[in-house]
């Protein structure tokens, strides 16, 4: 059971990088970036190809660059080419499939069983020490911690504030002499670099990259993001970042427990879809209910309001 939970924690932390990407693009920049699946797979593919060629450290940087490029294309299509932002994401996602196959050398599966990855490198570094069995977890925690610290700091810089304001009120950003097009492009480049890093780490963790590795990632990450949002309502962005990571881990742990209770693994995507539906529709209906009760109160106490008016 402990080993199972450790695996859940590791997988949850890896996907938390994608959740952080959505925290930046969906929550902060207010752009629904549907290219997440494609960028995730691209990170996995590029990372795997570079690692197989014998450069495990370089593979991380290469995957991040691939994510930046993918994010740039999505942002460019929606800000400069007049393509609706949802459509831009779908188009890039579709195009990424062919590109990812090409990156993987016209194959849909890359095996990394005997390849040096960041995980195997670190395991070798720890050698026979007591921490050896936690080597994967340590690597992942390091990556997530670095991304969290950078992101939390970034959101408080002028550029980060400009990204938040662009999602909040683009008119205000324009009147502060800031180009919202540039801000959107920068925001999506950064967010997709997190997504690709996430994909790269998962492929190296699994020791294989396949073309379907990112399928449904957007919904899973969105579900995690919305779960994470419940932890720190109305708190600052620092807490938002922590909430996103917590959401991702919690989602994965609950999913693992459900698997233990004999839920078929193929249910993952259905479950995450349902969570997203509940998380978005729930507050919507709660708002409607509140409105109704307010009306009912207003109707049932007409004499009181009349008395006040008189």
């Amino acid at each position: 059971m402990a080993a199972l939970l450790q695996t859940a924690l590791e997988l949850g932390l890896i996907s938390s990088l994608t959740v952080l990407a959505l925290y930046l693009s969906y929550t902060m920049l207010n752009v629904c970036d549907l290219s997440t699946d494609g960028a995730f797979t691209m990170g996995a593919a590029v990372g795997a190809v570079v690692a197989i060629s014998g450069h495990p450290y370089l593979s991380i940087i290469a995957a991040i660059c691939a994510g930046v490029l993918s994010g740039f294309v999505v942002a460019f299509l929606q800000t400069k080419m007049g393509i609706d932002s949802l459509l831009a994401g779908i188009i890039v996602n579709t195009a990424a499939y062919s590109i990812n196959i090409a990156i993987m050398g016209n194959s849909s599966l890359l095996n990394m069983n005997s390849v040096e990855t960041v995980f195997s490198k670190f395991k070798g570094f720890l050698g026979g020490t007591a921490l050896a069995s936690y080597s994967k977890l340590i690597v992942i925690v390091l990556f997530v911690a670095i991304v969290c610290i950078l992101l939390a700091f970034f959101l408080r810089t002028r550029l980060g504030l400009a990204i938040r304001a662009t999602g909040d009120n683009p008119d205000m950003v324009k009147s502060s002499s800031i180009n919202t097009v540039v801000i959107t492009i920068v925001g999506l480049c950064i967010s997709n670099s997190f997504t690709a890093l996430s994909g790269c780490l998962l492929a190296q963790y699994n020791k294989s990259a396949n073309i379907d590795i990112g399928t449904g990632m957007l919904t899973v990450a969105l579900a995690s993001l919305l779960i994470g949002r419940m932890f720190f309502k109305k708190r600052g962005t620092g807490f938002g970042v922590i909430g996103a990571v917590l959401g991702a881990v919690l989602f994965r742990v609950v999913y693992t427990l459900a698997l233990r209770l004999n839920m078929p693994a193929s249910m993952l995507k259905l479950v995450s879809s349902v969570i997203v539906i509940i998380a978005i529709a729930g507050p919507y209906f709660a708002g409607k209910m509140k409105e109704k009760t307010m009306k009912r109160i207003a109707v049932s106490k007409p004499s009181e309001t009349e008395g006040k008016n008189a």
Partner: protein, 261 residues
């Protein structure tokens, strides 16, 4: 200072909804002018300010601000020298961000990768204190929690953080209750006169159109139909304005929010 030369704008050209919003407008604004703009609904007042601030580019004519031709300049570039306030108090600030974060963006202080410093905070605090609304003690509060009047005052502070060459006010007090509107107007008057800002203000309040500033223009159907300043303006009354409008436009001045006194 601002030279508007024969500008025209047609919206939805070639469709049934075609509308000539601006018709061959000429306007010469001198440095330090405070011009009030009045007119009926749909007269083109807001469209004129939109043309100057670059929300759209005009079909014909040119706009020159302080020797620079800004006719085809992008909106965010113009906003380095043009400050703007809208009728809607929600439009000028980002609601989920704090007062200091909003001011930090408007100030343009420091580099893109720099956080707010203690020096910035001190500067914001001093400027907020000038508004006399107690906002200097609420700098960490999200702007969404402020009242309409407070938000509009904050927007004014942001728009004039670096003294703009031109300030455009689009009925910026119309959505506020009378007492708050008066207060925001007072702050406006103070900021504009202390910094000698050139200003164009659309107003629905006939009295303040004549009281504020040094020049009043009247618009109807995409044209400037009356332009009064100096000696003549000091003798003009609200009744004169209404009669003049009727005479020039051939119909009474109608504006949803018009205040006569």
């Amino acid at each position: 200072m601002l030279k508007i030369d024969h500008i025209s704008k047609v919206f939805n050209k070639g469709t049934v909804n075609e509308k000539q919003a601006l018709y061959d407008i000429n306007l010469n604004v001198n440095k330090g002018d405070f011009i009030s703009i009045i007119g009926s609904n749909g007269a083109g007042k807001s469209t004129l300010l939109n043309a100057i601030s670059g929300v759209f580019t005009v079909d014909e004519g040119s706009i020159v601000l302080d020797g620079t031709d800004i006719t085809d300049m992008a909106e965010h570039k113009r906003s380095t020298v043009i400050g703007r306030l809208f009728q809607d108090p929600m439009k000028g600030s980002a609601p989920s961000m704090s007062i200091e974060d909003n001011l930090y963006l408007a100030s343009g202080n420091n580099g893109w990768f720099a956080k707010i410093t203690a020096k910035d905070k001190k500067e914001f605090r001093e400027r907020l204190a000038l508004l006399n609304m107690g906002l200097e003690d609420r700098m960490k509060n999200p702007v969404g929690l402020l009242s309409g009047g407070q938000r509009q005052a904050l927007t004014l502070l942001m728009a004039t953080y670096h003294i703009p060459k031109l300030l455009l006010l689009d009925e910026h007090t119309a959505a506020l209750d009378p007492a708050t509107a008066e207060k925001v107007l007072e702050i406006t008057r103070k900021v504009v006169s202390e910094n000698n800002i050139t200003c164009l203000m659309i107003t629905h309040n006939m009295q303040s159109a004549l009281e504020l500033g040094n020049r009043t223009i009247m618009m109807n159907d995409g044209r400037i139909i009356y332009d009064v300043s100096g000696e003549e303006r000091t003798h003009t009354t609200v009744t004169d304005l209404l009669n003049l409008f009727k005479e020039k436009a051939g119909e009474s001045l109608t504006n949803d929010r018009m205040l006569l006194s």
